[in-house]
C-alpha cells in the first residue's frame, strides 16, 4: 500500500506540475482536437478489453470494466 501511495502521489505531482506549462488557446488546438488524440481507448478496443478482462487478473484504469458485470476475474 505504501508503494501504491507513492505512485499515486508522484503521478498527482506530475500532473499538477504540468499545470504550469503552456496555456494553449482554442485556436492552437488543431492537433490536440484530432480524433486520434483522444485520451481514452478507441471504441474498436471495447471487445479487446473484454477478452483481456477475462484472461488476465488485472483490470481497470482504462475506461473498461473494473470488476463485476461479468463472470470474469
Amino acid at each position: 500500500m505504501k508503494r501504491t501511495t507513492a505512485i499515486l502521489l508522484t503521478a498527482f505531482i506530475c500532473i499538477m506540475g504540468a499545470g504550469s506549462c503552456t496555456n494553449v488557446k482554442e485556436y492552437q488546438k488543431s492537433r490536440i482536437n484530432d480524433a486520434e488524440m483522444e485520451l481514452s481507448a478507441r471504441k474498436i478496443q471495447k471487445t479487446e478489453q473484454s477478452f483481456q478482462t477475462y484472461r488476465e487478473g488485472a483490470s481497470g484504469a482504462n475506461g473498461g470494466k473494473t470488476g463485476g458485470g461479468c463472470g470474469c476475474n
Binding site: R3, T4, I7, L8, A11, F12, C14, I15, A18, G19, C21, T22, N23, V24, K25, E26, Q28, K29, R31, I32, D34, A35, E36, M37, E38, L39, S40, R42, K43, I44, Q45, K46, T47, E48, S50, F51, Q52, Y54, R55, E56, G57, A58, S59, G60, A61, N62, G63, T66, G67, G68, G69, C70, G71, N73
Partner: protein, 397 residues
C-alpha cells in the same frame, strides 16, 4: 401630393427593411431531439491453450466468440442551453468453448459447450458548456446462462476556464448473481446428471474512479486515472476444478472479498504533421497478492487527412494470486485454492495493426457511414495460450 408620395415611399422602404432584417442565428440551438451518431463494433475471437480451469489447470482452452455491440446517441438542448445526451447500447456475444463443455465430463457434448450473453445499457449526460460541467447517470445489465448482473453509476466532470484541464469522478456498482453450477461429479454427491435447478450466490462490486487530464502544449496531453474497486460475495467460479495432491477433486474456493487498486497514465503526442503516438501504462495491485504492469503503445500514421494506419503493441506482466497452484499441488487444509491460469504468474504480448478511414463524403461515398475501422491483433501468453481477434467498427451519422 409630393408629401403623400414621399410618405408612402418611406413607409414602403420601412416595411421592406423590417422583413429583410435577419435574426441573429449564430447562437441558436435546436431543442428538438436529434440523432447524433450510432456505432457498431463487431469482432471474432479465437483462442487455444492447454490449461483449462474447468479441468483443474489441464485440458483444452479452445474457445471462439462472436461479439456485436451497437450504440445509438441522441442529443437535445434545454431552455438553459444545457446539452442532454441519451445513449442506448446493446451487446450480444455468442461463444463456444471446449473447456465449458467439460463441466459434465460424461456427456459427449453438453449444454454448457456454448452460451449467449446479452448486455443492454442506458446512459444520460447533461453538459453545461458555460460552466464547463457535465453530470451523468448510467444503468446496465448482463444476462448469460450462469450469470446475471444489474449495474448503475453516476459521474461528474469539470473543465478549467481555459479548457486545458478536466477533472472527472465516477462511481459504479454491480449487483450480480452467480449460478452455482458444480462439476458433474460434485453434484448431490451422486455424480448424477444435469439438474437445472441451480442455487445462486451474490457477487457485488463497488468502484470509484478519479481522472485528471491536462493539455501540456499544442502537441501533448496527459491523463492520470485512479480506480478503487471493492468486491464481496461469491468471487470464485463453481465449475472450476481443483485437484489436490491426494488426487481428490474439489470446486474452486476463493476469499469472499477483494480490494483492487489500478492506476493508469495516458500520454498522447502529435509528432510532426502525420504521426500520433498513443501510450498507456497501468500499475495494478490487489489484496489477493496479484500485482501487474501493462504497457500499451500505438502509433497512428496519417496517410492523408482521412486515412490512418495504426500498428500497436501491448505488454502485460502479472504475479500469481496467493491461492494459485497447478494441478496436484494444493492439499487438504488449504482454506482457498484455484488452478485457474488466468490468476497465475505470466506475461503476455498483444500486437497487431488497424486502419481507419473517415472521408468527408462518407465511406465508399455513402454519406451516412462516417467512418470505418478494421483492426487485427494476436495475443500470446507465456502459459501457452494464444488467441487472435479481428474487429470492425462502423460509425453512422
Amino acid at each position: 401630393m409630393k408629401k403623400i408620395c414621399l410618405t408612402v415611399v418611406g413607409l414602403y422602404i420601412g416595411l421592406l427593411s423590417a422583413f429583410s432584417q435577419s435574426a441573429d442565428s449564430a447562437n441558436y440551438k435546436s431543442r428538438k431531439l436529434k440523432f447524433e451518431e450510432a456505432n457498431l463494433v463487431s469482432s471474432y475471437y479465437r483462442q487455444t491453450g492447454n490449461n483449462s480451469a474447468v479441468e483443474g489447470g489441464v485440458g483444452s482452452e479452445k474457445l471462439s466468440d462472436i461479439a456485436n455491440v451497437i450504440d445509438v446517441k441522441f442529443t437535445k438542448y434545454d431552455k438553459r442551453d444545457r446539452k442532454h445526451s441519451f445513449t442506448g447500447e446493446v451487446g450480444i456475444d455468442h461463444y463456444t468453448s471446449a473447456s465449458s463443455d467439460r463441466i459434465d465430463t460424461k456427456a459427449n457434448s453438453s449444454a454448457s459447450s456454448a452460451d449467449t450473453r446479452i448486455y443492454p445499457s442506458l446512459s444520460w449526460t447533461m453538459e453545461n458548456e458555460q460552466k464547463g460541467t457535465t453530470i451523468g447517470l448510467h444503468a446496465s445489465s448482463s444476462f448469460e446462462f450462469d450469470y446475471t448482473s444489474i449495474g448503475f453509476g453516476a459521474s461528474f466532470s469539470k473543465k478549467s476556464a481555459d479548457k486545458n484541464r478536466e477533472v472527472s469522478i465516477k462511481a459504479q456498482a454491480f449487483l450480480d448473481q452467480v449460478s452455482l453450477i458444480l462439476p458433474i461429479e460434485l453434484r448431490n454427491g451422486s455424480g448424477g446428471r444435469d439438474n437445472d435447478d441451480y442455487k445462486s450466490a451474490s457477487r457485488n462490486s463497488y468502484s470509484g474512479s478519479v481522472s485528471l487530464s491536462q493539455v501540456i502544449n499544442e502537441r501533448l496531453q496527459l491523463a492520470v486515472i485512479a480506480d478503487i474497486v471493492k468486491q464481496d460475495g461469491f468471487l470464485a467460479l463453481p465449475f472450476h476444478r481443483v485437484y489436490f495432491n491426494d488426487n481428490t477433486v474439489h470446486s474452486e474456493i476463493l476469499p469472499s472479498s477483494r480490494l483492487k487498486i489500478p492506476l493508469g497514465l495516458r500520454a498522447n503526442y502529435f509528432i510532426g504533421d502525420k504521426v500520433i503516438l498513443r501510450s498507456f501504462y497501468r500499475y495494478y495491485q490487489d489484496d489477493w497478492g496479484l500485482t501487474a504492469h501493462t504497457i500499451d503503445l500505438e502509433t497512428s500514421v496519417k496517410i492523408n487527412p482521412f486515412l490512418s494506419v495504426t500498428p500497436f503493441y501491448r505488454y502485460y506482466n502479472q504475479s500469481a494470486v496467493d491461492y494459485f497452484a497447478p494441478i496436484n499441488v494444493h492439499k487438504q487444509g488449504d482454506a482457498y485454492y484455484t488452478s485457474n491460469y488466468d490468476l497465475s504468474a505470466f506475461d503476455s504480448q498483444f500486437f497487431g495493426a488497424g486502419f481507419r478511414s473517415a472521408p468527408p463524403k462518407g465511406v465508399f461515398g455513402m454519406q451516412h457511414i462516417g467512418a470505418i475501422e478494421l483492426r487485427y491483433g494476436h495475443y500470446t501468453r507465456s502459459t501457452g495460450l494464444n488467441s487472435d481477434i479481428i474487429s470492425l467498427h462502423l460509425k453512422f451519422k
